[in-house]
């Protein structure tokens, strides 16, 4: 067990160090969601005048989005780095060592999780500086971080799966627009009950990203909303379990090939 833990730690540390050494991989997940938050919270502030809008602060309403958007970036980081390991032959060399496959996956995702926590700290700090106060108080912060880590784990595993199946960093990067489609066709900018276009409301209701955003949003602006929490954690858990299973399977296939 200790050997496995050591292997995971070493690979996680490598994952973190490698990401830190590429400033674009650190800056983009921090700056881009904040920029989108600034633009949307400024431009859509008037939306708070709509009858039934749940808060008077659009910034607080929109603060949930960076947590999910940051996790999408984790997908790219995890996948691209793993694909590079495949392309450079690092994975092939690793397969000749006693390193266990699960340690590779665990290490990679451990690094992504670490960065996910850093992102969450930055997003929450910006929110607090701007004046947002969590309706769920300090305990809500803990739950928010747990949820952010679960979502990052799930999306990170999806990125790892894509990398292991394709072995191409470009292929992983090409997933990014698809994730953006999921983000924009969700309730990211307006509560679902206020979406007046029926087909869009239906798409947003079917879109799992809506529930991830609404879970974070409930912790920030609503309070302890059991339904939102159960749906959010449920969807995030299903994504994480399925993605981890797929990544584990793809890793076995990849290791067998090498």
């Amino acid at each position: 067990m200790n050997v496995l833990a050591d292997q995971v730690f070493l690979l996680a540390r490598r994952s973190v160090v490698r990401t830190i050494r590429q400033p674009a991989n650190v800056v983009a997940p921090l700056v881009f969601p904040m920029m989108l938050l600034a633009v949307n919270s400024g431009g859509l502030k008037a939306e708070t005048h709509l009858p039934g809008f749940p808060t008077s602060s659009f910034f607080a309403f929109a603060l949930a989005v960076p947590f999910i958007q940051g996790a999408l970036f984790a997908t790219m980081n995890a996948g691209t780095d793993l694909a590079r390991d495949i392309q450079t032959g690092f994975l092939s060399r690793l397969s000749l060592t006693p390193m266990r496959g699960i340690a590779l996956l665990g290490g990679q995702l451990g690094g992504v999780l670490t960065l996910g926590v850093v992102q969450a700290v930055v997003y929450l700090t910006v929110g607090l500086i701007v004046g947002v106060r969590l309706a769920t108080g300090p305990l809500g912060v803990v739950v928010l971080f747990l949820f952010a880590m679960l979502v990052t784990l799930g999306f990170g595993a999806l990125g790892a799966f894509a990398a292991l199946r394709t072995g191409s960093g470009e292929a992983v990067q090409s997933l990014f627009p698809a994730f953006f489609v999921f983000l924009f066709l969700s309730s990211m900018n307006i509560p679902r009950n206020l979406i007046s276009t029926t087909w869009f409301r239906d798409v947003a209701t079917l879109n799992p990203v809506s529930y991830l955003i609404e879970c974070v949003r409930s912790l920030i602006i609503v309070g302890w909303d059991t339904e939102a929490l159960v749906l959010g954690f449920g969807v995030a858990t299903v994504i994480a379990v399925v993605a981890l299973a797929l990544a584990n399977w793809a890793l076995r296939v990849r290791m067998a090939r090498t």
């Binding site: 633009v39 008037a46 939306e47 709509l50 627009p177 066709l185 307006i190 979406i195 007046s196 869009f200």
Partner: protein
């Protein structure tokens, strides 16, 4: 005459590359449609915000933004192609072979324009099929598309200036990010009067705000700020022409 011949050759090659390569062509069509769907569909309830008084409805309101956005990014995406030409070494051979190097820039500009016209046609067709209201006459609509055309040229000239100075695909974010900022710091979701705070202050001085408001006026059939909009768009295009030509000279010097 030599300039036109070079421009024709560069434009044909650029368009051939774009239209025969789905990974280049498809995103330039799909992304504007996606933004149109996401904004016009998802946020249509915004038209019920007190003070929102655009007569043609939210679909038309967003159409103008997405049309201008597609024009700007049509120019930027063509700039990516210029950077790729430099990175692959093709542009160096082009500089050696072209009897008029200004024609190279002209060729890229014509390609960006024709490429965007295809996107604009698809976008307009989809918007009309979705039931977009059009209050403007033929002359008004000509004004709208003329504004978008100038924005397309300005964005291409900006991106070309960057591509010719840095001569690498890694310059992509530098071409793209300022355009993204200028676009989204305009009144994207609601009219300028409904913005408040820092975003209102920025949007007020943003030259694209004039273009956007005038475009929406054209589509509604009640032109507004026309001189300011064309003045701002033409000033941007003129400034970026100078920027791009200086970039071309720098590329020549770099060999």
């Amino acid at each position: 005459m030599r300039t036109l011949a070079v421009a024709r050759g560069v434009a044909w090659r650029t368009l051939h590359n774009v239209f025969t390569n789905p990974s280049l062509f498809v995103p330039s069509i799909v992304f504007p449609l996606f933004f149109f769907v996401a904004f016009a569909g998802g946020l249509s309830h915004v038209q019920d915000v007190p003070g929102f008084n655009y007569s043609q409805g939210y679909t038309a309101f967003q159409f103008v933004f997405v049309l201008l956005q597609s024009a700007a990014f049509g120019g930027v995406f063509t700039g990516f192609g210029i950077a790729r030409d430099f990175e692959s070494g093709f542009a160096r051979r082009l500089l050696l072979a072209a009897p008029s190097r200004t024609g190279i820039l002209l060729g890229y500009s014509v390609a960006a324009l024709l490429r965007w016209l295809v996107t604009a046609t698809v976008l307009t067709t989809v918007a009309l099929a979705a039931g977009m209201n059009v209050g403007g006459s033929g002359v008004d609509l000509f004004g709208l598309y003329a504004l978008a055309l100038i924005v397309n040229a300005a964005a291409l000239l900006w991106a070309a200036g960057v591509a010719m100075r840095l001569r690498t695909m890694q310059a992509g974010p530098i071409m793209q990010f300022p355009v993204f900022l200028v676009l989204f710091f305009a009144p994207v979701y609601v009219p300028l009067a409904l913005l408040s705070g820092w975003i209102h202050a920025i949007a007020t001085v943003n030259p694209l705000t004039r273009v956007l408001e005038a475009g929406r006026g054209f589509l509604a059939g009640s032109p507004t700020e026309v001189a300011a909009a064309f003045g701002a768009a033409l000033a941007l295009a003129a400034a970026f022409s100078f920027w791009a030509l200086r970039g071309l000279r720098k590329a020549e010097v770099a060999g």
